[in-house]
Symmetry: C2
Amino acid sequence: MARSLRHRLFGLRELVDELAFRAPARLAVSVFACVVGLFAALLMVPFATADGEGARFVDALFTAVSAVCVTGLVVQDTGTYWSLYGQIVILTGIKVGGFGIMTVASLLGMIVSRKIGLTQKLLTASETKTSRLGDVGSLVRVIIVTATTLELSIALLIFPRLVVIEDNVGTAAWHALFYGISAFNNAGFVPTPEGLMPHVGDWALLLPIALGVFIGALGFPVILNMQRALPRPGHRWRNWTKRLSLHSKLTLVTSGVLFVVGALLLLVLEWSNPDTFGPLSFGDKLLASVFAGIMPRSGGFSTVDVGAMTQSSWLIQDALMFVGGGSASTAGGIKVTTLAVMLLAIMAEARGDRDIEAFGRRIPRDVLRLSIAVVFTGASIVLVSCVALLEITELQLSVVLFEVLSAFATVGLSTGITQGLPDSGKYVLALLMFVGRTGAVTVVAVLALRDRRRIVRFPEERPIIG
Amino acid sequence: MARSLRHRLFGLRELVDELAFRAPARLAVSVFACVVGLFAALLMVPFATADGEGARFVDALFTAVSAVCVTGLVVQDTGTYWSLYGQIVILTGIKVGGFGIMTVASLLGMIVSRKIGLTQKLLTASETKTSRLGDVGSLVRVIIVTATTLELSIALLIFPRLVVIEDNVGTAAWHALFYGISAFNNAGFVPTPEGLMPHVGDWALLLPIALGVFIGALGFPVILNMQRALPRPGHRWRNWTKRLSLHSKLTLVTSGVLFVVGALLLLVLEWSNPDTFGPLSFGDKLLASVFAGIMPRSGGFSTVDVGAMTQSSWLIQDALMFVGGGSASTAGGIKVTTLAVMLLAIMAEARGDRDIEAFGRRIPRDVLRLSIAVVFTGASIVLVSCVALLEITELQLSVVLFEVLSAFATVGLSTGITQGLPDSGKYVLALLMFVGRTGAVTVVAVLALRDRRRIVRFPEERPIIG
Ligand SMILES: [K+]
Ligand SMILES: [K+]
């Protein structure tokens, strides 16, 4: 009996195995759809809302998609509309969604990059058909442990400040946990109606959250790679960056540059806006711009009213959101390495170089085609969604484009139109969040996981795209 | 004496020769700037305006840039603000600008493509340092003759209709010539305040104009190639398309697809708009959509009020304008072959092909990098210009984006904001038209005209990018 059960379980494992390696895109999308459906159902029960009357289907579905896809766009205020049960469901959705995204994308990304040691093992296992799940299991454990550690670290760092703010240890602990999970998973959900806006100058609260968002948006392969590259206590720090993979270097540098450029531009453009940075002191302006510079990639928290920003600031954030964060992270968008590869290609073209190079490594040429596919697909989806929302509503392009990019790149920043959308508009955004989330994984899986004749040349390294 | 003059002229020829082949981008930009300056000066004389008081500098400069860059955006109505002299200056500016663009771009394009027979001669000449200008001269002659023939053909085709409309043979002839030159050069200038709007259902007037715009937007290499590929009288038509170059095939197919998609989408989106297609009969709706489907690439004429269209229609036209027309044509944008190469690259990636292929030809891989450079540069220019105009004015993104793309791609369609812009805004658009016009040539010249080691493989063909 025990043997039969084990045998049947092994059969199931084999089936999942087969699916994962034969049609990984279809499997990922199906699993995601099921998880979204489950959480929508959990949010449909009457006591999920604070008034005990239950949510409408469209609101439950939208919230479930937003949570599982770690977007953070909301049609109903998280802290007041949903009950504590509802909020726990949302937070669980974020945790499950974020974990799922990191796991699936890490697996795919590692298979694509064929770089990180774990993947070598995975690939070997897949070839010899033995103990593959064991290695997947170890990856899953590493991700769970790392993610939870980082989430709890953020929560612990902001807990003292929240005790002061809330004047209640229980509420402070709950909010600290909520922000910790929401920040590391780049979810952008907040447990109170006013969110972080009252704390625009609060370095002790905002810096840990911003740092958590930044690290979360780097992506799991980068976090793991950095963990391994950092010297053990007592060892030298010299040259530790040389132990980083090309993918990690590209992600770190591009993320850093986008952060600095975004923060500076928003600082200048909003400097004298009376509804945003205008009334703030110099220090608070600086913190607000640092915070706002990190959030489009794709944390989605805000300390000032995004809806009151200028159209120029929206446009800058549109561009930043489209780029998004790191591959195999909970951030969305076309991903920073995709942008980096395209820029490197342009530089190579300008210099007349035959190969695309970065950090002493040559980037394979087919990576460029993959980048173009990701960018073009993304731009097309955004264009079609904008047309759809413009036809459904009477809204202006500036706000529609912002909300569409926020949904597509699962950012969660909002000019405030989402809550007022008609149901059809909510469905469009929900679909967009789902497509934006699973799309990159699907495109990469479909395009990159094929056997392809390769010219053997050394040394070569493949960054993860999409 | 005659000998000395000839010697000095030969010296000048040598100098231009050297510049053209050493720094073609700088030469092209400088010549363009000088021509624009000249026409601005010609429009500054008092009797250039109808009231005889002379134009303001900003208006003269804007109009000169718009004419020489064959854009068609206007800050002052062409038919009423400018005198007949002013209108002749504008038309001459179009003719000179259109000719200059076609000549320079054809030369560069042919050198890049290394395909068309004429270029082989040119290249051989450049290597042996003999009689190069003779061959450039023959190219110039072919372009002048072909362009003038097509312009006069359009003028002759619409002349009978204009006689009926204007009830005055002189005015009709002038307007026919104006429309002929304006259409073939994709300039979009109209000789009357109401333009073509009163004639929205006039097939006899609009079809020749639309056809002229379409052919002009294909680009001179395609026109020349088609001319040569078409069978002589008495010969068979079978397989004549096989004599077309890859560049011609890509340009024709992509232009055709963009036209059909654009016309259909605009037909659907504007079908019931009471301020545009709504009041029209079915036939007139069809003609209006056919006309509007051709104009974003980049004729710039309009038979309905573009400012009254929906934001969705603007967005569709934004995308079409960004793509623009054929390489080495008077059309702007990133060019249809650039789009085609990127789509083919995505298809190749999806199929897992090693090479990018079309019509039985392999497209060299470095063409893809050139395409990316053109698209990325274009998108960045558009983004920066939008931010600038949003900061200068209080206008909405939807109209600003439309006008920016219209200027960048030298289309000339307008939602109506250009005439009301402050001077700083006019300068931004004027600069954008100039950059949009010379930018592609510059990028291609800088990036593509370098010597580069090439892998020898056959058969290979290089479409013109940018
Ligand atoms: K988010
Ligand atoms: K034009």
